[in-house]
């Protein structure tokens, strides 16, 4: 459904997206994971024909994103990070606007409007101004408007930013429902836990695609042992461990410290030394499964680049 070949976009000297290639199958939920500024939004904007690539090409639903972009826009749904509804229009007026723009009318419109209202949980609130809705409802209404015309492909650019975890969970259920009904979904996020919902993940950093696989395989491919350490002095222990023998990385992970070990024996003695500096005994060093965050941080380090905030 989506095929990008060496997709590149430069802004002056800055390369926002650097030779990115990937394909997305029909019905797949494909995730773009990466920090802000990694090039996720720029890639999506090129795929929906809002931005011309500097080099490379892409086809979406069999259409070239540059040459056929007018036709392309009838086949895709797009929701930006601002979930841009018209705040001064009511719920119903927003849906009617998109009905007009996408050429959905008559019986089909009535049916789709009811579907959107049900999906957003806004039945009975049709006359409410969109600006006054809670963020979670706004977001679902925006999604409903974006798929009013039942596009085969849906692009979501950080659709859950700023929404509370419960609403975020509900939103991912919606994405899942759409995907089961056959919609291909390309979604970007910087929330690691959301990335787990995706069928496949593309990890992006500094404009480059650094890994592409299912979340499970990405985690499995992570070859370094990771240990979780309980300590009452986590920040100082992390400091003491930086650059110590056998330690590849040490970072706060909630209240614990996650340690990536190169040589396990050397690492253990380094940990003991760091703890004794604070009068603590080594109580437990538990081996844990790599999270996507560990995978991501590890890959970025291997690339020789820092993680950008």
């Amino acid at each position: 459904m989506i095929e990008a070949v060496e997709l590149t976009r430069r802004f002056g000297d800055f390369t926002a997206v650097d030779r990115v290639s990937f394909t997305v199958q029909a019905g797949e939920v494909f995730g773009f994971l990466g920090p802000n500024g990694a090039g996720k939004t720029t890639t999506i904007r090129m795929l929906i024909g809002l931005l011309a690539p500097t080099a490379g090409s892409a086809r979406v639903a069999g259409l070239d994103v540059v040459a056929d972009r007018a036709e392309l826009r009838t086949r895709i749904g797009y929701m930006s990070q601002k979930f841009s509804l018209y705040g001064d229009l009511t719920v119903a007026e927003n849906i009617e606007l998109y009905g007009g723009l996408y050429g959905v009318h008559g019986d089909r419109f009535e049916q789709r409007r009811d579907w959107v209202l049900a999906l957003a949980g806004l039945k009975g609130d049709e006359r409410q101004p969109a600006a006054e809705l809670p963020l979670g409802y706004k977001q679902r209404l925006a999604l409903g408007c974006a798929v009013l015309h039942e596009p085969p492909i849906l692009f979501l650019d950080e659709p859950t930013s700023g929404v509370d975890p419960l609403a975020r969970r509900a939103f991912w259920d919606l994405i899942d429902t759409l995907a089961r009904a056959g919609t291909t979904v390309l979604v970007s996020t910087h929330y690691m836990e959301e990335a787990e919902y995706c069928h496949r993940l593309a990890l992006m950093n500094r404009g480059r695609l650094i890994a592409l696989d299912t979340p499970a395989r990405l985690r499995a491919a992570y070859d370094r042992p990771i240990f979780s350490l309980e300590t009452g002095h986590a920040p100082r222990v992390v400091e003491a461990l930086a650059g110590a023998p056998g330690i590849e990385d040490a970072a706060m992970f909630g209240r614990a410290v996650h340690i990536v070990a190169g040589d396990v024996t050397a690492a253990a003695s380094s940990v003991r030394a760091a703890l004794s500096g604070h009068g603590e005994e080594l109580r437990g060093l538990e081996r844990v499964e790599a999270s996507l965050e560990d995978v991501f941080v590890g890959l970025v380090r291997r690339e020789g680049g820092a993680v950008e905030g």
Partner: protein, 372 residues
Amino acid sequence: MDLVRLWAIARKEWIQLRRDRRSMILAFVLPIFLLLFFGYAISWDIDDIPLAVLDQDRSRASRELVDALTAGGLFHVAEYLDRYDAADEPIRAGSVRAVVVIPPGFQRDLASGGPAPVQLLLDGADANTATIALSYADAIIAQHSQQVLLQGRRIPDLIQADTRVWYNPTLESRNMIVPSLIAVIMSIIAAMLTALTIAREWERGTMEQLAATPVHRLEVVLGKLLPYVLIGILDVTGATIAGILVFGVPFRGSVLLLGGMTLLFLVGALGVGLFISAALRSQVLAMQVAMVATYLPALLLSGFLFDIASMPAVLRAVTTIVPARYFVTVTRGIFLKGVGVEALWAQGLSMVAFATIGLGLAALAFRKRIAR
């Protein structure tokens, strides 16, 4: 071009406009306020000029001269002075525009048939009023001296100028101001109204959302234009009715022609606002640029305040790109002269060109922004 999509945009814009109090004030309150304000405040008719009198002769003849000066209502005596060295004080204070000094012996000189000089001191700080006051006073004094000379007998004039003023027989400046004012006000309002509309969508991120739908940029531009054209037509209708009923301005031409010309003008003026809005993307900036780009030219270069024919060549050239200039000619022509297409086709064509360029620029600026 898809009319369904165009209509969806127009409908949305209309709903937003209706709910936005700031736009509603701009659209309906401001034009009427400006019309009443300027209509009453601006007048180029000079009469009732305050005059100070220093009568050193205190005779019947001197009193008759003062009566002659004030009889027509062009002058009124605001002050009587008694010392010559105090004559400049009321002018300096601004309480009078002119002082007439009648020296001692005025009646005697008059009776002996010799020249009887009087002195007229004028406030040259306002050259315009001074010139007019001087010509009024000259004419009145010449007429008065003829009457004194003939002592009531009449002789026929050798050459008699039979003057008639067409279109505005009473030469009332208000008749000229109000129709032009409608044109000037509409060019300001039009640009300010639309200056916000596209910039607002950029600021709120809705423009990006629109751009991802199948809607074509020309559909957006025209769809946004439609509600504002309707408002513009309502404004011009209201201002025309107010001009006729409140200010008593004659309306001699065709309502249909005025409507058609208004439509042409509005499309251009609104298009310029849209262009500014699309090019700048910021509501505040777009509003300021729209004000400067339309307000001053419409006021100064449209022929409303200053006659274009007497401007220096450079400024005259600049006025050709001021759309208000054409519309001022049109409204004056239709209101006062009752002229038709045969006299106004050139203005009409200029406004068509202007509308095309305005809309074209708006659509172009819009596309450039999307591609970035």
